[in-house]
């Protein structure tokens, strides 16, 4: 336990002594703020147009601006996450192997599982620190909405983002443990993310294979969350995803002992 906490603390501290954390958080917030603003103005304009139409012709439906903005915003966050998480995980093991500090960790009284969990939770913490400030945008919007949409929509959305992020971070860490080169890790991670992303294309297919593949896609389950639904299928899906990759990472770290270096 002490070993786990020591690794976690070191790892989290490490993000903040290097510029990586600041650059990622900064860019992430700028991009998400820009798009939030864009969605909001676009939907408000549409709403105004609708209202004018109704005044003129008396027939047109109201549009739920905050709800639509939120849905759009969460799917934007999921896209940004796809680009930002490889950067967070690329160095987690690759850097450590290259510097030879893996030898220190592996000759210390900490288990592989403690190392892997410490590192994973540290990257998840940084991810949370990166994503959560965007909630202020939504809170400001919700405070000015009338009627105010249920808070559940926002909470479910963030739960989805964190679960999606956790799954991708676990996968990225595993890929980082396979190489000594950060850049290779980042590129491979990004490629792997795209693969689990596009599996969703099978959703519109009628074949069984398509359905199964779509079920395995990381975005498919994310969509439920953006609709304000916390589905146990999604929870179990993401939990299994994380557990699978944590397990694979432990095996991969352990295998470093058997390789000639």
């Amino acid at each position: 336990m002490q070993g786990f906490y020591a690794v976690y603390r070191k790892e989290l501290g490490h993000y903040f002594v290097s510029p990586i954390a600041y650059i990622c958080i900064g860019l992430f917030l700028i991009l998400s703020a820009y798009f939030f603003n864009y969605f909001l103005t676009a939907y408000i304009q549409e709403a105004i147009a609708m209202t004018m139409q109704r005044m003129r012709y008396g027939m047109a439906q109201d549009i739920d601006v905050p709800g639509l903005v939120m849905r759009q915003f969460f799917s934007l966050l999921s896209t940004l996450v796809l680009f930002f998480t490889p950067v967070l995980t690329m160095g987690v093991y690759a850097e450590e192997r290259k510097r030879g500090t893996m030898e220190l960790l592996m000759t210390s009284p900490v288990t592989e599982l403690q190392i892997v969990l410490g590192k994973f939770l540290a990257s998840l913490t940084l991810f949370t620190i990166m994503v959560l400030p965007t909630a202020t945008y939504l809170i400001i919007m919700l405070r000015h909405s009338d009627p105010m949409p249920p808070l559940r929509l926002m909470l479910a959305g963030y739960a989805g983002v964190l679960l999606l992020g956790g799954a991708l971070l676990a996968m990225g860490s595993f890929i980082s443990s396979l190489t000594e080169n950060q850049l290779i890790a980042a590129v491979l991670t990004f490629a792997a993310f795209l693969m689990v992303w596009v599996l969703d294309l099978g959703r519109n297919s009628d074949s069984i294979v398509g359905t199964v593949l779509a079920y395995l896609s990381v975005v498919r389950h994310f969509d439920d969350f953006t609709h304000g639904v916390i589905d146990t299928t999604g929870l179990i899906y993401y939990a299994s995803f994380v557990i699978l990759f944590v397990f694979l990472t432990v095996r991969s770290v352990d295998s470093m002992r058997w390789r000639r270096a």
């Binding site: 070993g3 070191k10 501290g13 490490h14 510097r99 030879g100 030898e103 220190l104 058997w258």
Partner: protein, 319 residues
Amino acid sequence: MIEVQNLTKTYGSVTAVDHISFTVNKGEILGFLGPNGAGKTTTMRILTGYMPATSGTARISGFDVFNDSMEVRRHIGYLPENPPVYPDMTVGTYLDFVTRIKNVPANKRAERVADALKKTNIVDKKDELIKRLSRGYKQRVGLAQALVHDPDVIILDEPTVGLDPKQIIEVRHLIKGLAGSHTIILSTHILPEVSMTCDRVVIINKGKVAAVDTPQNLTSQLKGGQKVRVQTQAPEGPLQQVLQQIPGASRVQVEAERADGLLTATVESAQGQDIRSVIAAQIVQKGWPLYELHGVSLSLEDIFLELTTDEAAHAEPSN
């Protein structure tokens, strides 16, 4: 304290360590001497629990390095060839991190860190980023890391590599000072280091133990005889003749003449026979000016070469 028995490590078809056995007693400094690629690092990595052996056993403080790896790791401090430091951390936070992963109790951490900084003489670098330190200081941080949790056994892989002569002397003093309360294994390919710091030496070559003994014993055992070096101004032929006629002289080697006309000759004699006075008398009698005359004892270097090249000659006659 440390018992190694028939330790073997193979990588595919390459045998890096071949049935090595030795023991280290408590409080002793054991030198691990061998040319590059002899299997020193591999042996140390097995002892630290970093990698498993192919066969054979190694026990540290009675714990098997493979089966009780966690217990072994609690008892050792290890400095790999490259100090395992995080460049973006300060020396202080780095050592604090090491005490944490080595399970040092919270109330003792600050004290242990301060102690390690003092021992390795880097107190004034505590708040410096490790990436800003020179190679020598990084190496000392590495050493501090190996002893910060006050382990019973300290394993050092080439601890003086990359240091300047003054730092080398400091590090040797430090290592000597650690003996007694700690059991130390250090590897090196620098011979004087072994004779200066170690109580016992394991000479290892091509994965096999070539000799285990104290530096003194190794020197005297293999000495077999004595060597005398003479420098004089004389014609080459007659000098050779005169020296060969000295009773007890077994092998005479006269080196080529130097620009200043001085000849250097080496005379070997059987053990226990001092032929220095006879040589001096003979040369003076001939009227040659005698510039230098001194006995040469076989250095560890000679022994090392003898042990390792003999084997190499047997293995590869073409060389």
